[in-house]
Every structure is written in structure tokens, then in C-alpha cells.
């Protein structure tokens, strides 16, 4: 099954536990600046939005890479970066329309979300289920259901 990260900003409290978990999983230490998921706040914290790679099926980053360093994990659908092949040219960071593949000045390579081999740590760390790991074909179901519930209330009242 093709699963993907589903983000519901209305549930996010902005605690950054996802950034802590992501950086710990990939770097072995707590370092939010190297997290592959980032939380952005708007209007004095009224809205907090976690943001990360959506794992495009036709991935701009992959197409832009001149060394073929970006490849697909066929089980997860995740786009992964080969550290051996990446030369740090940053073409992918220019190509990605979402900015979710990022150059790491310490390693000289690019970093992006790899779905933690199917067990995304940001999901495990989120205390409010603002980030969930769902069937990619059903990420809209929760909102659809909530919206339907509103309609149902309108009908029954």
C-alpha cells in the first residue's frame, strides 16, 4: 500500500516534537535546523503548519538531479538520496517547488524526508495526531467525514 504523511495544521500546537524526533532519527542528536520536517507559525502562533516532502510521484528533484542520486524506494514510494552519488550541486533544491529538499552544509549533500523506512518518527512523536501516516489514497477522508458531519447536523436540526 502506498502511504503518505498527512498533515492537519488545525491540530498542531507548534511544539516541535516532530522536528526533534526527525533530527534525532537522522542525525543522532536534537538539531531542528537539520530536521526534514519544519513547523511554520503564522499570526503570532494562531496557525502552526508542519511542512515536509510530499513524495511526488513525478518528482522534480529526481528529474533535475544530474547524477541520478535520487531514487525511489519502491515499497514506500519515498524518494531517497544516495549519499555516494550526490555531489551537492543543489539543482534539486532549485527544482523542488515546495522547498522540501535542502542542502546540508555539514555533509555537502542534500537531505529530504525518507519516511524513516516506513516508520515515520515525526508521526510517533506528534502528541496531537496533527501528523499521521495514511493510505495515500485516503488522506482526504478525515476532512470529508468532518465536513459530512457538519452537513448531517444541518439536516437533523
Amino acid at each position: 500500500m502506498h502511504r503518505s504523511l498527512h498533515i492537519e495544521p488545525s491540530l498542531c500546537t507548534g511544539c516541535l516534537q516532530c522536528e526533534l524526533a526527525c533530527s534525532f532519527e537522522h542525525e543522532g542528536e536534537f538539531i531542528p535546523v537539520r530536521s526534514r520536517i519544519r513547523v511554520f507559525e503564522f499570526e503570532h502562533g494562531k496557525i502552526s503548519v508542519p511542512y515536509t516532502c510530499t513524495q511526488c510521484v513525478e518528482a522534480w528533484c529526481q528529474k533535475a538531479c544530474p547524477t541520478g542520486a535520487i531514487f525511489v524506494d519502491s515499497d514506500l514510494g519515498a524518494k531517497l538520496v544516495s549519499a555516494q552519488a550526490c555531489v551537492g550541486c543543489k539543482a534539486c533544491t532549485t527544482a523542488c517547488p515546495f522547498g522540501t529538499i535542502e542542502f546540508n552544509p555539514f555533509s555537502g549533500k542534500v537531505d529530504k524526508c525518507d519516511l524513516c523506512h516506513g516508520d515515520p518518527q515525526c508521526v510517533a512523536a506528534c502528541p496531537t495526531d496533527a501528523i499521521t501516516y495514511l493510505d495515500a489514497g485516503a488522506t482526504g477522508v478525515g476532512r470529508m467525514q468532518a465536513s459530512a458531519e457538519q452537513n448531517a447536523k444541518g439536516v437533523s436540526s
Binding site: G14, C15, L16, Q17, F24, F30, H44, G45, K46, P127
Partner: protein, 605 residues
């Protein structure tokens, strides 16, 4: 281990920026944050200096758990000599700035001297510089935050800054970080202003490591689960749930502590914030977390656009930090105001201009009593009647004080100096010059003892006697829980975590997290002993600054005027009975000085 092992020392007089190694011996004895900052302050300055002189030292200190994934790991503390009290000031804050300072590669930031011209400290990765703040001097906290991020094209900077209140020496000016979190009390912002330091802006690129990663992840996860079972009410209602409890008990200070119950309490309490009014407006928008916090007690609120305070001021038609219990108390009951939009707006103004809402509200309460007594008139107050209950007086004076205009300059003195100025020192509801929080000492006896002996003056966050106080309203048996909880809270404040975890976590839970984090063996006993050492070192600072046992007292109103209503009706605070017992338990002389034996026992001899 989670220390970066480095301290950044900035001398503003010389313009020097010097990294130095962290003194690990001190970190082992004083845990971190509040404790370690106090030790550094003690070793780096003479407690006798004028708080507003260049000789005062300003320290930003993180704890060993700051920046880890332990829940509530965003705390940092600001230590200095406080201009409001002349005592040690220790204010801690959440938000995201504290963890970012750790990620910058520094456990502590020590600021000495005073800059000739306004500056801000910029730490971007490994590049550290003092930058001219000429263009933001005179600007608000919110303007300065935005300007610095734009100036350096870096929206990820975390910024702690002062407003005009701090620049112009309001004695309870705060240092505000991340727009609406604050090292709020005791005037730490005024010290920053006296040094011509507008802001510290940080984006760090150094990770935080722990001693035993596997065990640490396991322990912090268990602790988060424990917290999730206990702290649900804080997320939904915030700290303002306390208002109903205090009202019912009769410990809600009202009209400058003349009363202990307020008829309009249910218009400014947590339920009022959640209520949708006839126009569809609800004060509370959502709850919000500080860095790493899985409780998320923070309030994000907004004000009705047709409210008199902002109807012609669109710049305030946005969401921002909402009322916590202490702000609700200080803008509500203690000044007799029951207008939730006015209270919320005053809260915005405190954050925007950088002031402590508790001290401001309680100072305004004293001014209102002076006004109603006829000691001051509208001739003194720029034509604004300062009657209890006036929402206009609250919001107009909040702004005048924030901008240091007119009567705001008098309110900026704090209630002790203001009441002295008008010849009525008895109306100042303070200990050591710092205003009380929202708990009346006549109904809560141990709270009164904690206030009276507080090292930073009146404070509700440095001890915890709520349960014993509510179980038994006499002064019997309050010294021991007061002393023990003071020591314990000092340890918690030194860890890098938040006191709002204490409903779910005790000493074993803190020790388990620290033990997986830091070198050496961390036990509950070690934490309590370290807490007692910290409390005593703060006391030594105050004694060296010239304070004495005569400063461990309460206003006469609380010692002599019986409470008029509530469950403690007829009681006064029994400080005279509790204080000698407390000194004795602490191993202090009758003059409140730690004996040589006590100092030796704690390694302070």
C-alpha cells in the same frame, strides 16, 4: 551529555565577545538554568552594585534538558540583580528562544558592562556580532522582532527583546521572546535596557546530544505518556482555570487586596474565554505549545473588533497571546475590571511593550485605591479617572506605561516607590518591592510564607503549598512544606523543564530524565539537595546585597486586616508564627542568616 560545554561572554563596554568553557563542577552542583545562572552571577558580580549600573551582570541560562525532546524542554532563565527589588532576579521563560541558544552552541550567555550606543547581539550559526540597534531603539517588541528577521533575511531567528518600557527603565520591564513569551518578573528587561542591549537574536546549528540516547528516548516517552494522562485540563482551559478555584475558596485578591472574592470573576475566567458571544465571537482561538511541550497550555486569543479599545485600530485585529491566570487576575479582580476584551488588549500591550502584567496590574490597583481615597486626582492622572472597575483606565494606563508617557511614568516605578511617593506605603501589595500574584495570603497561609521568604520578592512560582493550604487554613505545619517545595522548585527550575509538569511528575521522574541525559548519577535526593543549595545561594546574594530578615515580611493589610468573606473569613496571615519555624528548619539563625554549619553541609562554606 546535553551540555554544549561553552559559555558566551559579551562585554558591551568593550564590545568583546568571548567564548569560554562551561564550569562543569558548577553544573554538577547547581544542575543548570536557575541554579547554574545564580552561581555564575554570584561569582561574576558584587551584589551591592546598583541594578541599573553597568556593573550589574545579565545572564541567560539554559538547563541540561533544554533543547532535548523531553516534554517542556524550552525553558531558559534570566538572572541578574533586579531593579524592582534590589534582590536577585530570576525570571524564566518558554517559547523557542531558550532551546535555540543551546543550539547556537552555548549553555549560558553572560552580558557585562553597557554599550555606548544601542546594539543587539546576533548569533547566526557560528557567526556572532554586535549590530547597531539605532533603527529599532524606541520600537516595540513586535516591531523589533520583525525588523531583525527582515534585516538578516532569516525568518527562523529566535529573538528575545525589550520594548520601550525596558529602554526607559520601567522597574518591572520584561524580556519578551517569540512575541508573547516572557522572562516577565522583577525587571530583567530594565537591566537589559540599562545596558543599551535591545535584543538577542539566535539561529543555532549545533545539535544537543544526551548521555544514553536509547534510555533517554525511552524515559522521555514514558514521561510524556504520564503527562498526557494528567494535564488535559491545562490544554483546554489554560492556567486561568485557577480563577474559579480561588473565587470559590475566597483567595482571589480583589480591589488591591481589600476583598478576596470578585463578583465579575466569571466574565474573565477560563470559561468566559471559551464562550461564544451573541455576535459569534469567542475570545480563545486555540491553545499553543512552547518548544518541546506536549501540554500546550498557552492561549491564542483575539479581541472583538467592535470593542472600544481597538475599533479604530486595525493593527490589533489579529490573534496573539491570550489571558493566563495571572494576567486575568492582574487586569481583572485586583483592579475590579470584568471586561475580557479590555483584559486581553492589556495583555497584548504588555507583550508588545515588554512589561510584567502582574506588577503592572497590582501597581495600578494601588493607584486606584489612592485615587478613590482622594490622594491623587485626575490632575495627576492625565485626566483619566482611576476608579476600580474602569476598563478604560486599564487600557489607557497600560499603553502610557509601556510608552512611558504622563502618569505611566509614575506607574512604571512599581507600587512600592509609587505608594511611598504619595505617602501611603501601606497600600503597596508587595514583598521586597515585588507585587503579589493572584493568591491572598490570609486564605492561603503557606503561600504567604512563600511570598514573604521569596528570594525575588513576592512570587507564586517558587514554592507549592496549595494542597496543604487548602486542606488546613491555619498557619500550623506550613513551614516544612514551604521549605521543601522551595528547594524542589529550585531544582525543577534548574533542569530546563517547566513547573507545569509537576501535577504528573515528581522528583523520581525528573531524576530519571536527568540521569539518562547528564554525566554522573542523578537521584531524587541529589536534586533536592541541589535545590536547597541553590535556595541558600540566592539568600546569600540577597544578604550580601543588603537585605535582611526585616524584608521577609508581608504588608500590614495581610497581617492585620481579617479577610471579609470566603472560607477563611476572619483570618489574617500568621507569618509571625510560621517564620521562626521556617528559619529553624532551614538551618538559619533567628536573623535569617544561614549558619556556618548549614553552609558547610551544602558546600557553600
Amino acid at each position: 551529555m546535553s551540555w554544549q560545554g561553552r559559555v558566551l561572554r559579551v562585554n558591551l563596554t568593550r564590545g568583546d565577545i568571548t567564548p569560554e568553557p562551561l564550569n562543569m563542577e558548577w553544573a554538577n552542583d547547581y544542575i543548570g538554568e536557575r541554579g547554574l545562572g545564580t552561581k555564575y552571577l554570584w561569582e561574576n558580580m558584587d551584589p551591592k552594585v546598583d541594578a541599573m549600573s553597568p556593573d550589574n551582570v545579565l545572564i541567560f541560562a539554559t538547563g541540561p534538558l533544554t533543547g532535548t525532546n523531553a516534554s517542556t524542554s524550552g525553558r531558559y532563565a534570566v538572572l541578574t540583580k533586579g531593579p524592582l527589588t534590589g534582590a536577585i532576579a530570576c525570571s524564566n521563560s518558554g517559547g523557542k528562544f531558550g532551546a535555540e541558544l543551546k543550539y547556537a552552541g552555548y549553555d549560558l550567555l553572560i552580558v557585562e558592562g553597557s554599550s555606548e550606543k544601542p546594539v543587539y547581539l546576533l548569533i547566526e550559526g557560528d557567526e556572532i556580532s554586535l549590530q547597531s540597534a539605532e533603527k529599532i531603539w524606541g520600537k516595540t517588541v513586535w516591531e523589533a522582532d520583525e525588523w531583525i528577521k527582515k534585516q538578516h533575511h532569516n525568518p527562523m531567528l529566535k529573538i528575545a527583546t525589550i520594548g520601550v518600557a525596558g529602554e526607559r527603565g520601567v522597574r518591572y520591564a520584561a524580556i519578551v521572546n517569540d512575541l508573547h513569551r516572557a522572562a516577565g518578573r522583577s525587571g530583567v528587561g530594565a537591566v537589559m535596557g540599562s545596558k543599551n542591549l535591545k535584543a538577542v537574536a539566535v539561529r543555532g546549528s549545533h545539535g544537543v546530544q544526551v548521555k544514553d540516547p536509547k534510555r533517554f528516548m525511552q524515559v522521555t516517552n514514558e514521561m510524556k505518556n504520564l503527562l498526557a494522562q494528567d494535564a488535559g485540563g491545562l490544554a483546554k482551559y489554560g492556567t486561568n482555570a485557577m480563577m474559579d478555584t480561588m473565587q470559590e475558596f475566597g483567595a482571589l485578591p480583589t480591589r488591591n487586596f481589600q476583598e478576596v472574592q470578585f463578583s465579575g470573576y466569571d466574565k474573565v475566567d477560563a470559561r468566559a474565554m471559551l464562550k461564544t458571544d451573541e455576535t459569534g465571537h469567542r475570545n480563545l482561538i486555540t491553545n499553543k505549545a512552547c518548544f518541546g511541550c506536549t501540554i500546550a497550555c498557552g492561549r491564542i486569543a483575539h479581541i472583538r473588533k467592535d470593542h472600544f479599545t481597538i475599533q479604530n485600530r486595525k493593527e490589533y485585529w489579529h490573534a496573539s497571546g491570550g489571558l493566563e491566570y495571572e494576567t486575568a487576575f492582574a487586569f481583572g479582580p485586583v483592579i475590579g475590571v470584568d471586561d475580557i476584551d479590555a483584559c486581553t488588549f492589556a495583555g497584548y500591550l504588555m507583550n508588545e511593550h515588554g512589561m510584567d502584567p502582574i506588577s503592572f496590574g497590582v501597581t495600578l490597583a494601588a493607584a486606584m485605591e489612592l485615587f478613590e481615597m482622594g490622594v491623587i486626582t485626575t490632575d495627576d492622572t492625565d485626566g483619566v479617572p482611576l476608579n476600580f472597575g474602569s476598563a478604560e483606565a486599564l487600557t489607557v494606563m497600560s499603553e502610557k506605561t509601556g510608552k512611558q508617557e504622563g502618569f505611566g511614568q509614575v506607574l512604571g516605578l512599581g507600587s512600592r516607590l509609587m505608594c511611598q511617593k504619595y505617602g501611603h506605603p501601606e497600600l503597596s501589595m508587595t514583598v521586597k518591592g515585588q507585587e503579589f500574584a493572584g493568591y491572598d495570603s490570609r486564605a492561603l497561609q503557606g503561600m504567604g510564607l512563600g511570598y514573604a521568604t521569596g528570594n525575588r520578592g513576592a512570587c507564586h512560582l517558587k514554592h507549592d503549598t496549595f494542597e496543604v493550604d487548602m486542606d488546613d487554613q491555619s498557619g500550623e505545619g506550613k513551614a516544612e512544606p514551604c521549605k521543601t517545595s522551595q528547594d524542589w522548585t529550585a531544582a525543577v527550575d534548574s533542569s530546563g523543564l517547566c513547573v507545569f509538569t509537576l501535577g504528573a511528575w515528581g522528583a523520581p521522574e525528573f531524576a530519571a530524565q536527568l540521569d539518562a541525559d547528564c554525566e554522573g548519577e542523578w537521584t531524587p535526593e541529589r536534586l533536592l539537595e541541589s535545590g536547597e543549595r541553590i535556595w541558600n545561594l540566592e539568600r546569600l546574594f540577597n544578604l550580601a546585597a543588603g537585605l535582611t530578615c526585616a524584608d521577609d515580611t508581608l504588608p500590614e493589610r495581610l497581617l492585620k486586616d481579617p479577610v471579609p468573606s470566603g472560607t477563611a473569613k476572619g483570618r489574617v496571615n500568621e507569618l509571625g508564627k510560621m517564620l521562626p519555624e521556617y528559619y529553624s528548619l532551614r538551618g538559619w539563625s533567628e536573623q535569617g542568616e544561614p549558619t556556618p554549619r548549614t553552609l558547610t553541609r551544602l558546600g557553600l562554606g
